[in-house]
């Protein structure tokens, strides 16, 4: 089973990111589950969402305590105590940041991949919503399934110009991270 924990703030599309990712994975033949763990219901409050993918039906409904990967939508959250709790020793962190992966990895003491998701979202969508760019980056790193599945999942939510700009955003974000860097790790988790 592959388990992902997505950290963000209310209003950043955390839950939508989890839903879109699970929807795309399901269309690609995975068993998928996505759900939020809300805190206070307000914009800006830290929010966590979870995604599980497996090759058989997923029955457990507990929170993801030992994720294979973290996606962090707000750089400031990296410094919230407990944010990396349970993350597998060889697991990966994808962080929304304009800073270099090297400097943040050195600060945190473990490898982090970075993607300037807010900047890309502002360029392509005109809104600071980092979720789509991060999903595109995550898919590029893991190669779990083709990015076209992500586009198809977005087609269920967006139409016309908004959809077109999201598709452009996916391609732009994909070019920002090394392809297949986490493929071995994600392939191991899927069994």
């Amino acid at each position: 089973m592959l388990e992902v924990r997505i950290h963000g703030r209310g209003g950043q599309g955390n839950v939508v990111a989890a839903y879109v990712f699970a929807t795309a994975a399901f269309a690609e033949g995975w068993h998928a589950q996505a759900f939020p763990a809300f805190g206070a219901e307000r914009r800006g409050a830290p929010v966590v969402a979870f995604v599980r993918l497996n090759n058989q039906p997923i029955r457990r409904r507990c929170q993801v305590a030992q994720p294979d990967f973290l996606i962090i939508q707000d750089e400031a959250l990296l410094h919230v105590p407990g944010i990396t709790d349970g993350l597998a020793a060889d697991g990966g962190i994808l962080l929304n940041s304009s800073r270099s992966a090297d400097s943040i990895s050195a600060e945190l003491g473990r490898p982090v991949m970075t993607l300037p998701a807010t900047r890309l979202a502002l360029e392509h969508l005109g809104r600071p919503v980092p979720n789509t760019a991060l999903l595109a980056g995550f898919l590029t790193l893991t190669e779990l399934f083709p990015r076209t599945a992500l586009t198809a999942a977005l087609e269920q939510r967006f139409k016309g110009d908004v959809l077109k700009r999201n598709v452009e955003l996916i391609e732009a974000a994909a070019g920002q991270v090394p392809a297949a860097r986490w493929k071995e790790r994600s392939d191991a988790a899927r069994h």
Binding site: A27, F35, E41, R61
Partner: protein
């Protein structure tokens, strides 16, 4: 066809497939997405239905009571304080034997304020005279709502479908949504034999003297006991049509020679089942997933517990000062057995406390052949309390 879809959205579509004529609801977390999505189906012209915006849950229940009394198929949904505010009307709906379906998106009850999941809300109205069915996953929740209309309209008893808030309502997972042809085949249009009609005026819920009140109560109790057959029949017929059973009154999963059973209501089942299947080093257990809590299927529970030495009851609500509700009822049901199993009563997951995979092993560690201790909240951190309150 299977879709990856959020539980609430699937429930809205399932309710719409049942062609309700009147829906009235007041939004409350975690029920909100269900009624929002129904409202959207109405606004988009995909559901022809009178949607009544009301100012409180008391009014929501009152509107559907009136509409159903006049012969409409109706729907409402609520949770937590909303269920409590409805409670007077819920007793009236059941006492007048009005068919309808509502969803309880199970949530803890204040105070302290919690938006998260347990089952204190539906347990608080367990004596209202409604049928109560609990769902273990979103597929069961979809199928149970459709079955609930048939059960309700055949028994003339209202049905509350209990769906764990967030754990199911806000979880996206693969769900098979039936076609409208399948639902139409299963669920004929509602014809209420006692529908209010000005050409044939009748009164409902009027003053009853002591000469008749106990008889009315007996009739209601008997109707609920008799509903067991309708619950089983609806599930069997649905399984014949779609290939999917929702578990009738209860389901038993595990080896016949297991000596330990675990009894659950609702969505906690899946985590335990997966933990059990991953724990081949632990004693085998029989998982008893109770779907019908009202009527309480006493005979089916006795059969499910036959051969067990111990039954662990996982309570998602309790009665302060007394203890576990389900376990007390189970003990009463098992009392007539020659050698009933020992009943262990633990509350877990109160107010949304996570129910992790390792709960299964920790539960089994408490079974040592000794007489069970008193009801306890299993996952309580006593060190967080002042010494005098531990």
């Amino acid at each position: 066809m299977r879709h990856a879809i959020e539980g609430s959205q699937a429930l809205a579509q399932a309710v719409a497939l049942c062609r309700p004529q009147v829906v009235a609801a007041y939004p409350i977390t975690p029920q909100t997405h269900i009624v929002e999505n129904i409202a959207k189906l109405v606004a988009d012209g995909k559901l022809d239905c009178e949607l009544v915006s009301v100012e409180s849950e008391f009014s929501a229940a009152s509107v559907v009571l009136g509409a159903a009394s006049a012969g409409s198929r109706t729907y409402t949904a609520s949770a937590s304080q909303g269920i409590l505010l409805m409670s007077e009307v819920l007793y009236n709906i059941a006492g007048m034997r009005i068919p309808m379906v509502m969803t309880c998106a199970n949530r803890a009850v204040s105070a302290p304020l919690s938006i998260w999941n347990d089952q204190q809300d539906s347990m608080a109205v367990r004596d209202a005279g409604w049928i109560q069915l609990y769902c273990a996953d979103n597929q069961e929740a979809v199928d149970t709502h459709i079955q609930a209309y048939r059960i309700s309209e055949r028994t003339e008893l209202p049905v509350m479908v209990c769906v764990d808030g967030f754990t199911l309502t806000h979880t996206l997972e693969p769900i098979d949504l039936p076609s409208s042809e399948e639902v139409d085949q299963f669920l004929p249009p509602f014809k209420f034999s006692r529908a209010l009609d000005p050409r044939n005026p009748t009164s409902m819920g009027t003053l009853v003297s002591p000469d008749y009140y106990p008889e009315a109560r007996h009739s209601h109790h008997q109707a609920l006991l008799n509903a067991e057959a309708d619950i089983i029949a609806a599930d069997n017929d649905w399984a014949a049509l779609t290939g999917r059973s929702s578990g009738g009154l209860l389901t038993v999963d595990g080896p016949d020679d297991a000596r330990i059973g675990i009894l659950t209501l609702g969505a906690i089942h899946g985590t335990l089942a997966e933990a059990r299947d991953e724990s081949s080093d632990l004693p085998s257990t029989r998982l008893i997933k109770l779907r019908a809590f009202r009527p309480l299927p006493a005979a089916a529970l006795r059969a499910a517990c036959t051969g067990l030495d111990d039954v662990i009851v996982l309570e998602r609500a309790f009665s302060p000062g007394a203890g576990g509700i389900l376990s007390a009822e189970l003990q009463a049901a098992l009392a007539s057995m020659d050698s009933p199993p020992r009943v262990h009563s633990y509350a877990v997951g109160l107010g949304g406390r996570d129910v992790p995979m390792d709960l299964y092993a920790r539960l089994l560690k408490t079974i040592d052949g000794a007489t069970p201790g008193p009801f306890t909240i299993f996952d309580v951190n006593l060190e967080n309390l002042p010494a005098a309150e531990r």
